[in-house]
Symmetry: C2
């Protein structure tokens, strides 16, 4: 990494780009539910296209849509689950307890639908993969999913408070065995277990 | 269902709401990659908030963000994987071959990031859950995920052409056993197997 690598400006992230993403999340949710007339939608679409063009003038170069973090680690602002800059992310705020439990509480709206009125089974998998994986992450030493197994006990409703939590069951060398679940106020909806792997360090 | 239930206007979906979602997808991608200055972002955010307010005037009522299909089936325009109205969906176009193979080809950009430059493992799970499940769907008779197991062979890059495919291995009563994988041009990146369940019909 050389001197020209830009530093992440966390202040600008919090005050500028995170609110932008939040506005786009609201737009996404409303855009799915709107029944606006064609002329109104056309006018709105013109605004959105203009907004994208303005932001695009200063978009970082690279392959279409690929976003690389400046330093390759730790501030996952573009992450599909927790990225505060990513309008696709709910985003989850993940908490790490001293006893190793990792958890998050959140609510999912129209953008995460599978069966009508319910969370897409794959979105449940997305959230569980992330939070089970988070039990294995260490600063500067990410863990990657090796295997993930999900058991769906019942459907998960959109619009209700949800909680996801996970903990480490055991570790074996580079492997972390994690278990967890997704739940609503009536109990568990999806159970998960996974093996997360720390890539071996380069030989000294 | 009574007479006032609105019909789905497929023409309006295709000509009005699908292009709106596509514009928002472009906005999402650029918003993650932009390095625009705070004043420029503020101006853009005002446009986006105005757009959301205009669409919100005609948004269907209901719990925050919950989107119910008018007839409860078949046109999954809000679906998180295939919904043409859902800006969070890539969206995948899913093909069903006469021999039972279900497949889709697509490319994922910045909005689906996990490890820097790579697809989030949970997004791989989301796509595989949907396409394995699609092998079990029958018109008017949806199938729900019972279990899903994923084996990650290597990371999946953002920005490269990807293919997901699945087929039915066997069926047992209400259970469909499906297998499949996600692959890039160099081969398989994630393998999956799942059990999908048709809820039993109401007793006659």
């Amino acid at each position: 990494m050389h001197d020209q690598t830009p530093c992440i400006d966390l202040g600008r992230l919090e005050s500028v780009y995170a609110p932008l993403a939040e506005s786009i999340r609201r737009l996404i949710d409303i855009s799915i539910r709107t029944e606006a007339e064609p002329a109104a939608v056309a006018a709105v679409q013109a605004k959105i296209d203009a907004a994208a063009a303005e932001l695009g003038e200063a978009a970082q170069p690279g392959p279409v849509g690929v976003h690389y973090l400046p330093d390759g680690q730790t501030v996952a602002w573009g992450n599909a689950v927790v990225g505060v800059r990513n309008p696709v992310a709910p985003p989850l705020v993940v908490h790490h307890e001293p006893d190793g439990v990792v958890w998050s509480e959140f609510t999912l709206g129209a953008a995460y639908e599978g069966p009508p009125g319910h969370v897409h089974g794959g979105i449940c998998a997305l959230v569980l993969d992330h939070v089970l994986g988070a039990t294995a992450h260490r600063p500067g030493r990410p863990a990657y999913t090796g295997t993930l197994t999900l058991r769906y006990r019942r459907r998960t409703e959109l619009g209700r408070p949800l909680r996801v939590q996970a903990h480490v069951e055991r570790t074996e060398g580079v492997k972390t065995f994690a278990v967890g679940h997704l739940a609503d106020e009536d109990g568990v909806t999806v159970e998960a277990e996974g093996i997360f792997i720390h890539p071996r360090q380069s030989p000294a």
